[in-house]
């Protein structure tokens, strides 16, 4: 074995530099896998390790009104209970601006897990107490920095003017959506009462957190059993963990799949590169065999070389991925307030290295097996003409490598369904690709003697090259086509999002959205909006909270169906159509017209809710609202329009049906953003409990987030493209010798150099066109459903963007490839110019 190692190392040192494509392809693929895996580990670990702190307890009982004493007593007997009261409202900033905040008041037990860190380091009770006739407030540090609010500044909250006495530097249960929905501001319960924000129209959330030694699931089961009629929703930390893990897992799986795809495309580079390398080693291999080196030892030499290179490249890739993941984790940690721990990423890096090694061996084995099949007798005859073929056992080893890779992909992906889906789609794509390649070759053969091409020698040659043995068609489609598909999909999705944020939403969504307008404030608020802009369109609609109790007389609660039980406790937002305030589209059934003779109310429900329960048009639904009930016939199912939707109502009733329950409204005002800002300030002064949100403010946050996402996606897509270009470089390097030979023959037969160049350009132009078409179709097949169904965005314009991206990138790449090849052809002028062409 020592000879194998020594020889492998010496040989590699002398000629291994030709394997740079092998190394770079592998390194880039491993970098992506390590970066995405490491980042997932980092964020997932930070969030999932301490879900108790993130949720504020082992369990949380959420209520719209304070819990009755007997319920509280039951809970206190079974754990420590802490109450956090939360109201979403607007805060007047010192510079006269308006900012949506989550106002929170807590009791003395807060927080049950973790530690609240304030600056300066005084107690929350001291900070929020009343001093000199003014209540104190502890403001989230991030929002304070963004709005340039200092300690000692005054802010308006409800009917109070409060002093910012501390900045929150760490809040263990800070919402992951805080930067989006509203940053927390902590005040005392007394100050909350004094703010006059808690009224009939306001949506106050009473979150009772419980710390208990008992099993959380069992605690919840007993709670539901003790209070079967209670409307309260109970969440456990395990349930929260599961949901976070599921969402994180889906995102991480999607990113990892891109990494794996890049790595496997890089595998083609590994194959081409090692094949070209071993082609030059055939004489050495045959000589070593003739000198008496056993086949096993010979195989060990080249497997060792692959192992050495693969390990080096994979370690370098893992290191680069580690750097990227760490940088990403630091950015995420600032956004989501968690501590980064580099050690947590190590398993992901090991996995990435394992994938690198496995990919290298799997893709290299057919080439090694083929090279080792060289007959030493070739040394006595002509080595170039000797036939080599990969023996069956090497194919078997390759197949075993593929199986291992598939298993590892399924095991490693956070969401195994994604993994299986990926494998199935990849298999389907390969089959499709093979079908396309065969079809194109058949077409090229059919065109070979077509009259239209008879007088066009260059084009005929280019078409013929598509179907010759060793044509780069398959590899180009597989490598450049796959990377370009990713690029096109990203371009369409990002283009769709940018268009939505810059054009669709500002054009269709209201400039100002208003929540929690009490019925006695409605006229004043509408007048204030019209005062700000005479021409403004203002839509208002009631907001009634209720639960679905029964379907066709069958109660959901007690049905034994877990989904029904959950739905029965789920609070829904109910309203009227009111000028289609929520931008919804009817999917099934009909809207009602006029009065119904039967007198029964009619209702349309949102598709997600209706589909979860399997509701059908014509069903009789019973809703529990406040202390009463409301029966209605389901006449239709509607779909939210997506990002243009403001309120996400779950049910829309026929006019009049909700009247007995209405004491709160929502509104939407269509005006310029400047007018919306004026109206927002006016409403904050006259109705401080009304929450007003400017669409432009949300869009600004969205643009920032999209910018980061685009940057990340661009890096991933470019790395993927880089790998595919390297693969193409490898293909060209492998086929260059033969193409030079072909060109020489053609030239010696009288073909002018210009014609050879022209034919080469045509061949690559055809390849670019085919690759672009492939990428456009596949990229659109990925992006359009994502945009239409997941993000609910229109897709017309971005499709054109995808087409342009595909044509320009593939055209540029292959043009550069053709230029490169032509330059190499000219390197041998003596051979080419001998016939004076």
């Amino acid at each position: 074995m020592s000879f194998s190692i020594r020889f492998a190392w010496r040989d590699l040192r002398a000629s291994g530099h030709t394997l740079w494509v092998f190394c770079v392809c592998l390194m880039l693929g491993v970098t992506l896998v390590a970066a995405t895996g490491g980042l997932y580990r980092q964020i997932g670990g930070a969030l999932l390790d301490d879900t108790r702190a993130l949720m504020g307890g082992d369990l949380e009982v959420e209520a719209r009104t304070p819990l009755p004493d007997d319920v509280l007593a039951w809970m206190r007997e079974r754990g420590t209970v802490s109450l956090l009261t939360e109201v979403r409202t607007v805060m007047g900033t010192p510079d006269g601006g308006i900012q949506v905040v989550e106002l929170q008041s807590v009791d003395e037990h807060y927080p049950l897990y973790g530690e609240l860190v304030l600056e300066p380091g005084e107690s929350l009770e001291t900070v929020t107490s009343r001093e000199g006739g003014q209540w104190g407030l502890a403001l989230d540090g991030m929002i304070a920095e963004r709005l340039d609010i200092q300690i000692g500044d005054e802010v308006a909250v409800g009917s109070l003017t409060m002093e910012v006495r501390a900045l929150v530097r760490h809040q263990p249960d800070r919402s992951l959506q805080a930067n989006w929905r509203g940053a927390p501001a902590l005040i005392s319960p007394e100050a909350l009462d004094a703010s006059e924000l808690v009224g009939p129209a306001s949506r106050v959330e009473y979150e009772y957190r419980v710390r208990t030694e008992a099993d959380a699931g069992e605690w919840r089961r007993r709670f539901y059993a003790a209070f079967p009629e209670g409307e309260w929703e109970v969440d456990t930390f395990a349930g929260r963990s599961e949901r976070i893990a599921e969402r994180l897992g889906q995102v991480a799986s999607a990113l990892l799949i891109i990494g794996f795809s890049t790595l496997f495309i890089g595998g083609l580079g590994v194959y081409n590169s090692i094949q070209a390398y071993l082609q030059g080693k055939l004489s050495t291999i045959a000589t070593l065999r003739a000198l008496g080196l056993r086949n096993g030892m010979l195989a060990a030499v080249y497997l060792l070389q692959v192992g050495i290179l693969a390990l080096g490249a994979s370690l370098a890739g893992a290191l680069a991925g580690f750097g990227i993941a760490l940088a990403g984790a630091i950015v995420a940690a600032e956004e989501m307030h968690f501590d980064t721990a580099a050690a947590g990423m190590l398993p992901a890096l090991f996995v990435a290295v394992a994938f690198g090694l496995l990919t290298a061996f799997t893709f290299a084995m057919p080439a090694i097996g083929r090279a080792l099949s060289i007959d030493p007798a070739a040394l006595f005859r002509m080595i170039d003409g000797s036939a080599t073929a990969t023996p069956k056992r090497w194919w078997a080893a390759t197949a075993a490598g593929c199986v291992l890779i598939v298993l590892l992909v399924v095991l490693v992906l956070p969401d195994p369904l994604f993994g299986l889906g990926f494998i199935a789609v990849a298999g389907g794509l390969l089959a499709l690709l093979e079908g396309i390649v065969r079809g194109l070759r058949r077409l090229a053969r059919a065109l070979d003697d077509h009259p239209a091409l008879r007088s066009r020698f260059a084009l005929r040659l280019a078409v013929a090259n598509m179907q010759r043995p060793g044509s780069p068609l398959r590899t180009t489609l597989l490598s450049l086509g796959s990377a370009l598909t990713l690029l096109v999909a990203c371009a369409i999705v990002v283009g769709g999002l940018v268009r939505a944020i810059n054009e669709t939403i500002p054009g269709e969504a209201p400039a100002l959205v208003l929540y929690d307008i009490s019925d006695d404030q409605l006229d004043d608020v509408v007048n204030a909006l019209h005062t700000a802009s005479d021409a403004a369109r203002v839509d208002t609609a009631p907001l009634v909270l209720g639960r679905l109790r029964a379907v066709n007389g069958e109660p959901l609660r007690g049905s034994g169906d877990e989904r029904h039980e959950r739905e029965a406790r789920d609070e829904h937002k109910l309203t009227y159509r009111a000028n289609n305030i929520d931008n919804v589209t009817l999917e099934r059934g009909l809207w009602w017209t006029g009065e119904d003779a039967s007198g029964i109310a009619r209702v349309a429900m949102e598709d997600r809710e209706a589909d979860q329960l399997g509701l059908r048009v014509g069903d009789r639904l019973t809703f529990a609202i406040a202390d009463g009930e409301l029966d209605a016939e389901l006449t239709g199912v509607y779909r939210q329009k997506g990002m243009q939707t403001s309120f996400w109502f779950e049910a829309i009733f026929s006019d009049g049906a909700l009247d007995p329950f209405i004491y709160r409204y929502v509104g939407a005002a269509y005006m310029s953003d400047a007018t919306a800002l004026t109206a927002q300030k006016a409403i904050a002064g006259m109705a401080p409990n009304v929450v007003t949100v400017r669409t432009e403010a949300i869009l600004q946050t969205a643009r920032g987030l999209l910018g980061q996402a685009v940057a990340g996606l661009a890096v991933i897509a470019l790395v993927s493209l880089g790998v595919s270009l390297l693969v193409l470089t490898g293909v060209m390097a492998t086929s260059r010798t033969r193409q030079v030979y072909d060109a020489t023959i053609l030239h010696s037969l009288g073909t002018r150099l210009r014609a050879i160049g022209h034919s080469l350009h045509l061949e690559y132009a055809l390849l670019a066109l085919i690759t672009s078409l492939f990428a456009i179709v596949m990229g659109s097949a990925i992006a359009v459903p994502l945009l239409a169904w997941r993000l609910k965005l229109p897709v017309e314009a971005p499709l054109l963007l995808g087409v342009m991206v595909a044509l320009s990138v593939s055209g540029l790449c292959l043009y550069l490839g053709a230029r490169y090849l032509l330059r190499r052809l000219r390197l041998n002028p003596a051979m080419l110019l001998r016939s004076g062409g």
Partner: protein, 227 residues
């Protein structure tokens, strides 16, 4: 040393069977040198391939140093070449990524010899290339490459040395020099030498000259070749 009995070899060329060797019987004593001559395609190279265990005969038997090659598997044949056979190719076939010294040391290193480098250095000295030990094949002339190849073939003191047109790729003067070296080393080593060659001078230096004609072996006298 070499015992061939009713040796037959047939290739399929364009679907047609071509008998390259027909009923060859031959015995070569240890230390003897034998030249195999004949026109191109007469079966010289095939005979060497069979003697090296790189191809299997269609019929007949081959015994090397008393060992029958029939029934030996690929590994056993590889071991046989490693321990008892040295091969010199017309096109040298040095490993381009190894220095001259490392190329010569190869057979010894494959066999796990602890003093491989030292013995290789001595052998390089014997062929007059001690000062080129660190040079790579591409940095050597054709004659020098063939001297390295001879050193490699003989470094492990094989019982049998097979040379296929060892001067075929060299000019006349260099070819003669190579021929001198080969026969000097052969005389010193007492190995058996089988040379396939078109070179009459080289053939004449062998103890015996065998001519292959349409697959059959005809014995000739060396001095007759030069006339």
């Amino acid at each position: 040393m070499i015992e061939l009995e009713d040796l037959n070899m047939r290739y399929a060329v364009d679907g047609q069977a071509v008998d390259v060797l027909r009923g060859i019987d031959l015995a070569v004593a240890a230390g003897e040198s034998v030249a195999v001559i004949g026109p191109s395609g007469s079966g010289k190279t095939t005979l060497l391939l069979l003697l090296a265990g790189l191809e299997q005969p269609r019929g007949g038997s081959i015994r090397l140093d008393g060992v029958s090659m029939a029934g030996l598997d690929a590994d056993a044949l590889a071991d046989l070449r490693r321990d008892r056979v040295g091969i010199i190719f017309q096109a040298f076939h040095l490993v381009p990524s190894l220095t001259a010294l490392c190329n010569v040391a190869l057979p010894l290193e494959i066999a796990g010899s602890p003093d491989a480098r030292e013995r290789a250095r001595q052998m390089l000295d014997r062929v007059g290339l001690a000062d080129r030990a660190r040079h790579y094949p591409a940095q050597l002339s054709g004659g020098e490459q063939q001297r390295v190849a001879i050193a490699r073939a003989l470094v492990h003191a094989p019982a049998l040395v097979l040379a296929d047109e060892p001067t075929g790729n060299l000019d006349k003067r260099t070819g003669e020099k190579i021929s001198d070296i080969l026969f000097e080393l052969h005389d010193e080593s007492n190995s058996t030498l089988v040379v396939a060659t078109h070179d009459a001078r080289m053939a004449a230096r062998c103890d015996r000259v065998l001519q292959l004609d349409e697959g059959r072996l005809i014995q000739q006298r060396g001095d007759e070749l030069l006339n």
